[in-house]
Point group: C2
C-alpha cells in the first residue's frame, strides 16, 4: 500500500483554501487525514473533503499539530505567526502568503522552474505571487535557451485575485449597474471595478517611493529569486480588470541570444505545464482558461523594435496555477522525491 | 457677425457620428447648417442638432454637396469612395476611418501634436486611430524634451471602440451571464467579451504575417507619421477588455536623454490637452474619464531596468478624443488659422 499523508489546510474557507481541497480531491493527493483550520468565527462550520464531512477548527496556538503538509492561505499575518509553529512540529508548510517569499532561508518555488530549490527548505516553502508564477513558467524555457535580460510586463488581473469578498463586491457592482440601481458602497476596491480598469494592486498601501506598487515589486523580486538569476530585470505594470478569474499578461522579453517566434513556440511546446498557441488567432483568454491547470501562451511574435525581443500573451488560472495548484504541486514533488 | 460653416456628418447614426453632433453642440462649433448623411436604410430618420430636427439623407453620389467641413465616420469603404467626392466640391473632409491615414498626400493630425500638418491637406485630413491619438498626445512633450527611441505599449481597449453594435452585444452578454441565462449568439466578437480579455483587435482578419494585429500595425505606423519621426519604434499589444468606454494604455518609453519622473510630470502638466496625476494614487480609470475631452496620464514613474525609461498609464475617451472630438478640434484649428 502506497504512503498517505496527514494534511492541514490553514485558511480553508477562503477562495484559495477551497481550491486546496478541490486540488487534493481532483489530483487524488494521497491523504490519510485532512484537518481544516480557519479563523475562530468559522469554527464548527462543515466542509467536505473527498466526500467526507470535515469540521473547521478555529486556529489557535494550542491546536497546532504535526502534519506531513500544511497548506497555508490565510494572509501574511497568520503565516508569519503560525507557519513556524507548524514547521516546528515537523513536516512541510507550503505558504501562499507573501510572508516568507523573500526570506533568504525559505525557498520560493514553481515546480516547472526551480524544483531543485525544494530540497533547501527548513520547514517552510513559499508559494510565489500569482502574477509571478504564470510569468516565470512561460519565461523559463526562453531564459534557458536565450538568456533573458529584461522584461516589460503589463497585467490584466482578475478580481478573484483580491479574494472572495472582492469577487462578491465586483458582482454586486456589476449587477447594480446592469439593473440601473446605485451600487452598494465599496469596501475592497479603491475605485469602481465593474466595467473599469484599476492600475493599482493591492487595494491598500499600494505605492512604494519609486512609484511601483507592491504587486509590481513582488514580480520584480520574486522573478529573480525563482529563476535563480538576479540579473533578470523585470518592469511590471499591474492592473485589475473586470474579469472574474484568470490573470492575463502582456509580456515583452529581451534576450541575449536571438530567438525567432517559431523557435520560441517550439521551446514553449516542449516545456512542462505550458499550452502554447500554434496559430495567432488561437490565443488564450481568461474566461476560457479558468479551471485549467496549465499556463497558456499565445500571441508569440518577434518584437520588431529590438534585435532580440519577443512578445507573449500569458494566461493562467490565478487561483489554481497562481495559488492552490502550485502549492499542491510542490508537495507532489516532495512525495515523488 | 463671426463666420459660420456648412457642415456634413457622414455616418451620422453611428457611435462616432452621434458624438460629432454632441461635440458640435457642446463646443458651440459655428455651424450655419448641418447635413446628416447615413446609409440609405436610415434615410428619413430624424436626429436633433442644436435642438433642431435634422432628417438623415441617404448617402448617394448625386447627393454630395459643397460643405466647409465634412466629418466622416462610416468605415473605410465609404471614405475611400466618398471623401474625394466631397473634397472635390471644396472644403475639407476630416475622415475618421483608416482609408486615408497612411496616404502620403493626406495629413494625419492630432492638434496637440502636429497642427502644422493641417496646412498640407489637399481636401482630406485623416483622423488617427483611437489608440494612437491618446498615446501620441502623452508622448509628444516627452519626445520634444528627451527624444523617444522605443515604446512598448499594452492597451486595455473599451468595447465602444468596436462600434455601437459591439457595445450592444457586450451588454447583452453581460446581462445574460448576470441573470444566468445563455448569452445570445455572438456576431461581432471572436470570443466571449463579458468578463474576459481578447488579445485581438480588430475582430476579423486581424493578424499580419509578422504576428502583429491590424490595430497594432496602425499604432506603429501612425505614430511615426504624426510625430514626423520615422525613427520612433513602437511595439504594441492591443487587447479588448470588458470596459464600456475609454481606452487605457500601459506605456513603456525609452528616451535618448534621461527624464526623471518629476521632470516628466512637469512636462506633461504644461502640455496641451493633458491632465497628469501628481500623486501615484490619483491615476485615471476609464469609467471616470468617459465623457472628458482631455487625455489623462498617471502612474508616471522611472523604469528601473533601463538608464532612460519611463512608465505611463494613459486613459482617454476613445469616442471623444480618440475619434469625434479630435476631428472637430482639427476643424477648429482651421477656423482659427
Amino acid at each position: 500500500m502506497s504512503k498517505t499523508y496527514r494534511v492541514a489546510i490553514v485558511g480553508a474557507t477562503g477562495a484559495v483554501g477551497l481550491k486546496f481541497i478541490e486540488c487534493i480531491e481532483r489530483r487524488k493527493f494521497p491523504v490519510s487525514e485532512v484537518v481544516l483550520y480557519a479563523s475562530e468565527k468559522s469554527e464548527g462550520k462543515v466542509l467536505h473533503v473527498n466526500g467526507k464531512p470535515c469540521r473547521i477548527v478555529g486556529l489557535r496556538k494550542e491546536r497546532v499539530e504535526k502534519f506531513d503538509f500544511a497548506f497555508f492561505s490565510a494572509g501574511s499575518g497568520i503565516s508569519t505567526q503560525y507557519a513556524p509553529l507548524f514547521a516546528e512540529k515537523g513536516g512541510v508548510v507550503v505558504d501562499n502568503s507573501s510572508a516568507w517569499r523573500m526570506d533568504p532561508g525559505t525557498p520560493l518555488v514553481v515546480p516547472e522552474v526551480n524544483p531543485q530549490d525544494i530540497a533547501k527548505h527548513k520547514g517552510i516553502i513559499a508559494n510565489p505571487n500569482c502574477s509571478t508564477i504564470q510569468m516565470v513558467v512561460a519565461l523559463k524555457p526562453l531564459h534557458d535557451a536565450a538568456g533573458i535580460t529584461r522584461v516589460v510586463v503589463s497585467t490584466y488581473q482578475a478580481v478573484s485575485g483580491a479574494g472572495g469578498r472582492a469577487l462578491e463586491e465586483f458582482e454586486n457592482e456589476v449587477h447594480a449597474l446592469v439593473v440601473n440601481t446605485t451600487p452598494p458602497k465599496r469596501a475592497i476596491f479603491p475605485r469602481q471595478i465593474a466595467f473599469n480598469a484599476i492600475a493599482q494592486i493591492p487595494q491598500k498601501d499600494a505605492f512604494l517611493p519609486n512609484g511601483y506598487t507592491g504587486e509590481e515589486h513582488k514580480m520584480i523580486e520574486e522573478t529573480k529569486k525563482i529563476m535563480g538569476d538576479p540579473s533578470i530585470r523585470v518592469s511590471p505594470t499591474c492592473v485589475r480588470v473586470p474579469v472574474k478569474n484568470s490573470h492575463s499578461e502582456s509580456i515583452n522579453v529581451e534576450t541575449l541570444k536571438k530567438l525567432t517566434a517559431a523557435e520560441a513556440i517550439a521551446l514553449l511546446r516542449k516545456a512542462p505545464g505550458i499550452v502554447v498557441s500554434e496559430t495567432p488567432g488561437d490565443f488564450p483568454t481568461p474566461a476560457e482558461v479558468s479551471g485549467r491547470d496549465e499556463t497558456f501562451v499565445g500571441r508569440v511574435r518577434e518584437d520588431w523594435t529590438v534585435p532580440n525581443g519577443l512578445h507573449l500573451w500569458v494566461v493562467a488560472d490565478n487561483i489554481l496555477k497562481g495559488a492552490a495548484l502550485n502549492a499542491i504541486q510542490i508537495a507532489e514533488v516532495i512525495i515523488r522525491s
